[in-house]
């Protein structure tokens, strides 16, 4: 057996480079620093954007099997099933046609009435279609990745809808991709309006189980019933008003607690959504906030004209 065919070789005579422990210490400190910067300081988006862009070709390669599988399954769908789907869609369109015509008329009427009353016009958000590439594999959050990013004009905080309701909000923007936090993410909250009663509240994400929403801090005698539809209230300056969000699924009133526990199910498909609509956040169109007075209240009082003492 000639030399050079064995894996075993003598260890390096002079140790080269830093020791394993010091490397470990440096890299551990670096990753801890990154974690803190990611959660508290918010200075990591450039790092994420750079890594994401560098990784894009590899990711594209990894997505190909999935895309091929989707294409294949769509190709194998028979003509009959396609025809039946088309039938259903046509019937749906017919049913919606009358309502859609009414909506046009109502919109016109609404605009005229608002003009009459000198009210501000409802905000319209420009939209953009996007495709969901994959669910974020991180099991601790509920996010999806869409195929539109900064270069396509997706803004941070943009609302994301699917065909049935609000799906979530863009929480991270990379140059070519964007991350969308779903409604049911633990850190998610959305201001909603109960369509039946007109009461406003805030729904919080609740990822336990299949994922749901919860209306917190509603008093025990609040007028909420199962089946109530919740829509966006539009007070936040992010979501346009009137988009369907969730349906109340379960109301729990307990005598020992001052608040009712109200569970809601999101209307949008939080699992398996493929085509979504990304709106521009309304913040740019909102009227500017009134300028805040720089002077605190005490100073204001001091600025009042001195009281004139009436002369006797």
């Amino acid at each position: 057996m000639p030399l050079g065919t064995l894996d075993r070789s003598a260890p390096p005579f002079f140790k080269q480079g830093p020791s394993a422990r010091s490397t470990l210490a440096v890299l551990t400190a670096l990753s801890l620093l990154l974690m803190v910067a990611d959660t508290r300081l918010g200075i990591t988006p450039p790092i994420r954007a750079a890594v994401s862009t560098a990784l894009y070709p590899v990711q594209w390669l990894a997505l190909q099997p999935v895309r091929l599988g989707r294409l294949g399954s769509e190709y194998m769908a028979t003509v009959r099933s396609a025809q039946s789907v088309e039938d259903i869609a046509r019937k749906g369109i017919l049913q919606q046609a009358q309502r859609a015509n009414q909506v046009e008329e109502l919109l016109l009427e609404n605009r005229r009435l608002r003009d009459l009353l000198a009210l501000r016009q409802r905000l319209q958000a420009p939209e953009q279609a996007a495709e969901v590439l994959y669910d974020a594999p991180d099991p601790y959050t509920r996010r999806v990745i869409i195929d539109r990013g900064q270069l396509q004009g997706v803004a941070l905080g943009a609302p994301v809808l699917d065909e049935t309701g609000v799906l979530g909000q863009v929480t991270r923007v990379h140059p070519l991709l964007a991350e969308v936090s779903l409604l049911i993410d633990r850190d998610f909250s959305i201001p909603v309006l109960n369509v039946r009663t007109g009461a406003r509240s805030v729904a919080y994400g609740d990822p336990a189980g299949g994922g749901a929403l919860e209306l917190r801090f509603m008093p025990g005698n609040a007028d909420v019933e199962e089946g109530d539809l919740l829509t966006t209230s539009g007070v936040d300056g992010v979501y346009p008003a009137g988009l369907p969000v969730a349906k109340v699924s379960h109301v729990e009133r307990r005598s020992e607690s001052a608040f009712a526990r109200i569970h809601c199910l999101p209307l949008a498909r939080t699992q398996g959504a493929r085509h979504v609509l990304v709106l521009q956040p309304l913040g740019d169109q909102m009227p500017p906030r009134p300028p805040e007075d720089a002077a605190p209240v005490e100073n204001k009082r001091r600025l009042l004209p001195p009281r004139v003492v009436p002369t006797p």
Partner: protein, 171 residues
């Protein structure tokens, strides 16, 4: 304890190491959905090379690959980087003991390491206010250590070829 007979291995091809790491990265980037019990193949390949070729695969490459996985998984930045770095360190330090065992016994010895890795990950996320992902996460270290066996067989196969080919004995 009976020692398993050790085979004399051929020198490793660096191209093979790098291409196996690239395949591991591809597997990590596969969109498998949000499933907690999916074993981490990239971590397995990294630990495998750190055990078998500690002078070639070190903590630096583990850190970089971990960052890539973090960004793609939309996870906390630095979370997988930390796990991979610690695992490669443990792999290098356990290397001299581990190679005395056969591959199935190595898998048993690696199990506590994988449990520690997943525990560390969960603790970090819980400390930063995430919710528990469900019981499926308990299966991940078990699957990791079961996968150690096929991965060892596959990644050592090129080094187990004969140094000089014999037409009459193809193996």
């Amino acid at each position: 304890m009976a020692r398993s007979p050790q085979q004399l291995l051929l020198p490793v091809n660096p191209v093979f190491i790098w291409s196996s790491l690239f395949v591991g990265l591809l597997v990590a980037l596969l969109p498998l959905g949000r499933v907690a019990w999916v074993p981490d193949v990239l971590m397995l390949i990294l630990v495998f090379w750190s055990v078998h070729q500690p002078s070639r695969v070190g903590m630096g490459i583990a850190f970089v690959l971990g960052l890539c996985v973090d960004v793609q998984h939309a996870a906390l930045l630095g979370q997988n980087a930390l796990i991979y770095t610690v695992m490669v360190y443990l792999g290098v330090s356990l290397q001299r003991r581990l190679l005395w065992f056969g591959i199935p016994l190595q898998a048993v010895q690696m199990l506590p390491l994988f449990i520690a890795a997943h525990l560390l990950q969960t603790l970090i996320r819980l400390a930063l206010g995430a919710s528990l992902p469900g019981w499926g996460i308990l299966a991940a270290p078990l699957l990791d250590s079961l996968l150690w066996i096929p991965i060892s067989v596959v990644l050592l196969a090129p080094q187990r070829r004969t140094p000089d080919r014999d037409e009459n004995r193809p193996l």
